[in-house]
């Protein structure tokens, strides 16, 4: 009982596109209230692994468990109903308003509860609250990312899966995104964040690194930094 329950776990995942295999037995897990960063370079297979976990790509081999359920063959919408939310690299519907984006994100919630949830989220994101009727496409990159987070959280998930929240953001906004996410982390939300930006390690209880479609490292941030070759690979310019 010492170990917290696993919110999600993926084991032995193999998959790919057409004949080209991308993942070669990759796996990871996230425990309750834990935030996990999946670190890897462009093309390492991070997005693919996330897609298998959220049900957007089939696994050729391996399994995905969500809480007590084996969800390997499940569609994404069913997984979302079970408390998983996914924020893709794009993260929003640019042609819908801010309000509509949140409503779509919280589509499975009962009407009154969604309304409460949206007000709660607008409290976290005052910038968005001021412009509820504006099209998401008219927002700046940083605001879009905030909306993406809010949209994913609209369904009140227990686990938030994010694909490169730093993508396309200037450093200032990266800091802001990390700040927002750390507030949700404190509130007990479990998170799985795929990133190549090491700044996100600030959020990490645990780190996995992915390279060539395989997990190379699992451990704490301190352990990662202690490993010379990994440090050279992931701490960019150093």
């Amino acid at each position: 009982m010492a170990e917290a329950a696993r919110v999600v776990s993926a084991a032995g995942i193999e998959t790919g596109y057409g004949r080209v295999q991308v993942l070669w037995g990759a796996g990871l897990d996230v425990k309750a209230k834990e935030s996990v960063v999946l670190l890897g370079a462009n093309g390492a297979g991070k997005t693919t692994l996330l897609k298998v976990i959220v049900g957007l790509m089939p696994a050729w081999k391996g399994s995905v468990r969500l809480g007590p359920d084996d969800v390997t063959g499940w569609r994404t919408d069913k997984r979302v109903r079970r408390g998983m939310a996914y924020m893709s690299e794009i993260g929003v519907f640019p042609g819908l308003s801010i309000n509509e984006n949140l409503r779509v994100g919280g589509q499975f919630i009962e009407k009154a509860a969604l309304k409460r949830r949206m007000e709660e989220l607008y409290g976290y994101f005052p910038d968005l609250a001021h412009r509820r009727g504006a099209l998401a496409g008219s927002l700046s990159g940083g605001q879009r990312k905030m909306l993406g987070i809010a949209k994913a959280l609209a369904s009140s998930p227990t686990l938030l899966v994010m694909d490169e929240p730093s993508a396309g953001l200037s450093p200032l906004f990266v800091t802001q995104v990390i700040g927002v996410l750390s507030r949700f982390r404190e509130s007990g939300l479990a998170m799985l964040i795929a990133e190549q930006n090491v700044a996100f390690l600030d959020l990490a209880d645990r780190v996995f690194t992915l390279d060539g479609g395989r997990v190379r490292f699992e451990g704490s941030v301190a352990e990662l930094q202690a490993d010379d070759s990994l440090h050279r690979t992931y701490f960019g310019l150093a």
Binding site: V54, L56, R75, T76, D77, R79, V80, R81, A85, Y86, M87, S88, I90, G91, V92, F93, P94, G95, L96, E100, R103, V104, G105, Q107, F108, K151, S155
Partner: protein, 298 residues
């Protein structure tokens, strides 16, 4: 059928707008399907023809008024659209170039519909008495128009309004627009994209069916092989009005209706060229339509 009296030009424009409303209905469903699924239903004109055949059959066989026929057609066509969607579209969308392949596939569907209808109803022209939709002319700004035209235009306007309300005022409509914005993001958000699309597909062919019910009054008559020409017309309407934007169809429909009436007034023997030339011209000159979106190769 030329509007009599008063300045001929005004008459042509007014009749064109009335016609344009009808042609909006002709293209509306096609555009909805394109917007949601990025596929071209090249059997759209044939579903329209089926709606017309149904109206003719229900009237001559059972004496049903076209308005009743329209309601029946909506129910039956939506019900038929869902299984058709699930049978072909999900598999189609998994292929590499689904837009192109959809065109070929629905071309096949179009041929099947045309063949079955010809076998069942024969190849002869069918028409319905215009008096069904009101006797005597209706006068707009001094232009006399058949009541059946006004009636058809009013039903079309109602259909456009209902589609608008569906898309902007219902939960499923919001999800539908989400899928239109980005199918991938919709999947990632956990929207049941297949269900949303199937409903859109059903609505689309129901719209075609309703347009078909009124086709005998607007186009004069219906035949099993009218689908091909109607497909080109419907495609011209939505290309002019902007692909993938159902409400842009209204703009395309009006422009098409007015140009058609002007052609019929001043150059009547060449009026059949219009949809073809309009389609080609818009694709080449402003392929994104009047409101946006690019269809050219890189």
């Amino acid at each position: 059928m030329l509007p009599a009296g008063k300045p001929v030009l005004t008459g042509a424009i007014i009749a064109g707008i009335v016609f344009g409303l009808y042609f909006t209905l002709v293209g509306l469903g096609l555009n909805l399907v394109f917007g949601v699924m990025r596929i071209v239903n090249l059997a759209h004109g044939d579903f329209l023809m089926l709606g017309g055949m149904a109206a003719w059959w229900l009237f001559t066989g059972f004496g049903l008024h076209p308005l009743v026929a329209a309601l029946l057609v909506v129910v039956v066509f939506v019900a038929a659209g869902l299984p058709i969607y699930y049978l072909v579209v999900p598999r189609l969308l998994r292929s590499r170039d689904s837009e192109m392949l959809s065109l070929i596939l629905f071309f096949g569907v179009s041929q099947m519909i045309e063949a079955v209808t010809t076998i069942g109803f024969g190849a002869t022209e069918r028409s319905l008495p215009p008096r069904l939709l009101g006797v005597g002319p209706f006068i707009v700004l001094g232009t006399r128009l058949p009541k059946a035209w006004i009636f058809s235009a009013a039903v079309s306007a109602l259909a456009v309004l209902l589609v608008y309300l569906y898309l902007y005022r219902t939960r499923l409509g919001t999800l539908t627009r989400a899928v239109m914005v980005s199918r991938d993001e919709a999947l990632a958000t956990g929207i049941d994209v297949n269900f949303v699309s199937a409903v859109a597909f059903g609505i689309s062919i129901a719209l075609a069916g309703v347009a078909g019910v009124f086709a005998p009054f607007i186009l004069g008559s219906i035949t099993p092989n009218m689908g091909v020409a109607l497909n080109i017309t419907a495609f011209a309407v939505i290309v002019v009005g902007t692909l993938g934007n159902p409400l842009g169809t209204l703009l395309g429909g009006i422009i098409y209706g007015v140009s058609l009436m002007l052609m019929q007034t001043y150059l009547s023997s060449w009026a059949n060229l219009l949809p073809n030339l309009l389609l080609i011209a818009v694709l080449l000159i402003r392929p994104e339509g009047l409101l946006g979106r690019t269809v050219r190769r890189a």
